[in-house]
Symmetry: C2
Subunit: 233 residues, 2 copies
């Protein structure tokens, strides 16, 4: 624990300008400090941790301020599971594909294709998951563009992602922040996670989800370039 | 081969409005038809194919009109390899991360990390590839956000992507548009590809690159949700 800080020190320690901190206080994203006089308040370690989470959501996750409150409410609600918290983070990350008001034939077939895949893999995912809508929208677009190559098949993508995602998620487990190796995740029961750890976990989750996805995209494209050089140069 | 079409029929067959076709003609994206009088020209199969490619680049690839000319120039230059053509498509797809004018310590370490990975995998990729810059920028961001989980390790992502990308690229091979299965790609020599096939290949490439990447992102998130439900629900 650090000693209590005044606003100016909180700003220095966090690197967040005073005006921005005051804006977060007004928006209710940051809880008020402990008032020590009519015009002074003291802030602590919890404020620093929460500022780090807010910055990660804004700068790395590009989550709009209005949606940050939704995430923080789940982080603060200790009766909500860590799974609910990670879901709250992921569901606020873009893109946010829209479901069509009247799904056409391609959409309906794509939707059944997605459900069949998820069932075959035995995955537990909400039918309202934005990523499911993204998958259906993309499969429908593939059907519309009939010239599209078939590629390695949906199941091959899904199995590769399952292996990577399991290693990512287990690396979030408390006490496992610098350890996991693929293929050998430690699988404890549903862990107890205290409030301060929940904030740190949410920060790790947003950083990890966004940056691992970018690594995936970058390596996918580099791998395409390498494969293309072998087959088409 | 279809019979020659007038502008109105070209519009009907392609689903592209006449005003838009005229715009593409003015911008030089579509070659002029064969003039049959001072005010009439006839269009053929090649115009239809090229309109499909332009629409795929605009609507699926979200490539700006100005950048489409760059891609079409490589498609039309039959002395350019198919590898160069696929590169032209991929390099115009966003995001376009900027290299910093003065790379900081994190960027320099990340850059060496990316080079070491690419060398260890024996990948042939240009050092100017936008995806390499995206990888370095992301690794540098991970270093800055010290709380980030380590995840499954770069090499695990890269190897998974290599398998998928090889199957995607071989599915583009002429005569292989509906066939490949992962793990058993057909590997012919560098194929001869005629002009009309180049246009169709470029269209398949943009559709495939963009939509496969979206499938990857969607399935990655769904796999995270499933893993999270197992460890944190």
């Amino acid at each position: 624990m650090t000693r209590p800080m005044l606003m100016a020190e909180l700003s220095r320690s966090s690197g967040v300008p005073v005006a921005t901190i005051k804006y977060y206080l007004r928006e209710g994203l940051l809880p008020p400090g402990t008032a020590t006089s009519a015009t002074r308040a003291e802030y602590g370690e919890a404020h620093l941790r929460r500022l780090r989470l807010i910055r990660a959501l804004l700068e790395i996750g590009e989550v709009p301020v209005a949606a940050i409150g939704t995430i923080l409410a789940v982080v603060d609600d200790e009766s909500a599971s860590v799974h609910a918290m990670l879901g709250a983070v992921q569901y606020q990350l873009g893109p946010h594909p829209a479901r069509p008001a009247e799904p056409d034939q391609d959409w309906q077939v794509a939707s059944r294709e997605a459900d069949a895949l998820i069932a075959a893999l035995g995955w537990t995912v909400a039918s309202s998951a934005p990523a499911r809508t993204l998958l259906v929208a993309t499969l429908a677009a593939l059907r519309r563009a009939r010239s599209a190559p078939t590629g390695p098949g949906l199941r091959a993508y899904a199995e590769a992602m399952a292996t990577l995602a399991a290693a990512e998620v287990t690396s979030l487990l408390p006490g496992n922040q610098h350890g996991p190796t693929p293929g050998s995740p430690e699988v404890p029961g549903s862990p107890e996670v205290p409030g301060s750890t929940r904030v740190a976990l949410a920060e790790s989750a947003v950083v990890g989800m966004v940056l691992h996805e970018r690594i995936l995209i970058a390596l996918h494209r580099l791998a395409q370039e390498d494969a293309s050089s072998r087959y088409f140069a």
